[in-house]
């Protein structure tokens, strides 16, 4: 992955290295504008709510990702590895 919010390199958005080969997914092969992620995310929300389903990155998963961020902050303060599962108890 070579771009998202911005870009650092004038190269393909996605490059695959596998089995000794380098394969580019070029600018003309895939939508790479960062704004597309918002459009797709809104579409997903609308479609899932109309279908009565839960959305990806639901509230429980959202909490879990935040606990990873908290673990990083605590780790830096303690200069020690932090187990994510222990974050709830640490608060």
């Amino acid at each position: 992955m070579n771009r998202c919010t911005g870009k650092a390199l004038e190269t393909s958005p996605l490059v695959i290295y596998a089995d000794g080969k380098r394969t580019e997914v070029g600018l003309d092969e895939i939508e790479w504008d960062w704004g597309a992620s918002f459009r797709n995310g809104m579409f997903d929300f609308v479609d899932l709510m109309l279908a009565g389903s839960h959305a990806p990155l639901s509230s429980v998963e959202g909490k879990y990702v935040l606990q990873v961020a908290r673990a990083a902050q605590i780790s830096s303060e303690m200069n020690s590895p932090v187990t994510v599962a222990g974050i709830d108890q640490a608060q």
Binding site: C4, A8, I16, L50, V68, I87
Partner: protein
């Protein structure tokens, strides 16, 4: 709710709301029916821009509208909990911008509110919908690169020559811990990186980090440079 169309109310009409609204406006079964922002002039101008029927300075007044099925909360992080809980209490579906809240107690209150509501709660993180990342996830799932052993995510903080232009004034609150919850880089932007790491390689078990502080060109304090490593729960996978 009639399942023909999802009626949306937007809470918070700042810069990022442009991208959210654009998505809803392009969906054939979505309609933005109202917008709320405590800056009344902003709410009014957004309503005119998006073709909304109604605008409000107080989101609580907007929540009284029965025709609203779902709300999108795009406000500073310290407001997420209260707005989410009240919206779910009003029976609305909620999409709240990441990060969902500031503390464990707040997350739990929001999750509990969802459990008691007829509405669903979605925490919106956009990177997982970015087409190149979607393709990368598909390739992983298809086994194109075999069983992944690591993920490396590098984010550069600096001038944005090619990206989406955001006025400096709309970014200032993100550098205020009281509003943003703990750091522009690791807690706010870092949420994207952690979400993608989990999305790609599964749950994270343990984290080690060196986080330093520096000032940006405006003199605002940010928690960078930061070097963060982690071990995933399964498959001897690691990331940084």
């Amino acid at each position: 709710m009639a399942n023909e169309c999802l009626n949306i109310g937007i809470i918070g009409a700042g810069k990022i709301s442009e991208l959210h609204a654009s998505g809803y406006l392009q969906h054939p079964k979505a309609r933005i029916v109202a917008v709320a922002d405590n800056r009344a002039g902003i709410a009014e101008s957004r309503a005119a821009e998006w073709g909304d029927e109604k605008y409000f300075a107080d989101y609580r007044d907007m929540l009284k509208l029965e025709e609203i099925d779902a709300v999108d909360i795009i406000t500073p992080h310290n407001l997420h909990r209260q707005m989410t809980v009240e919206s779910l209490g009003a029976g609305k579906h909620v999409s709240v911008q990441k990060p969902m809240a500031l503390s464990e107690a707040e997350y739990d209150e929001m999750i509990n509110a969802e459990a008691k509501s007829s509405g669903h709660l979605r925490v919106f993180e956009n990177f997982r919908y970015y087409p190149p990342l979607v393709r990368a996830k598909e390739l992983l799932r298809e086994g194109v690169i075999g069983d992944p052993v690591s993920i490396r995510i590098k984010s550069v903080q600096g001038a944005l020559k090619y990206g989406w232009k955001v006025p400096t004034s709309t970014l200032s609150w993100r550098f205020d811990d009281a509003q943003s919850g703990g750091g522009r880089v690791v807690f706010d932007y870092g949420y994207h990186a952690f979400a993608i790491a989990v999305h790609m390689l599964g749950p994270i078990e343990q984290v080690f980090a060196w986080i330093r502080e520096s000032k940006n060109e405006k003199g605002w304090l940010r928690n960078a440079p930061a070097n963060i490593s982690w071990v995933h729960s399964e498959g001897d996978r690691q990331g940084s």
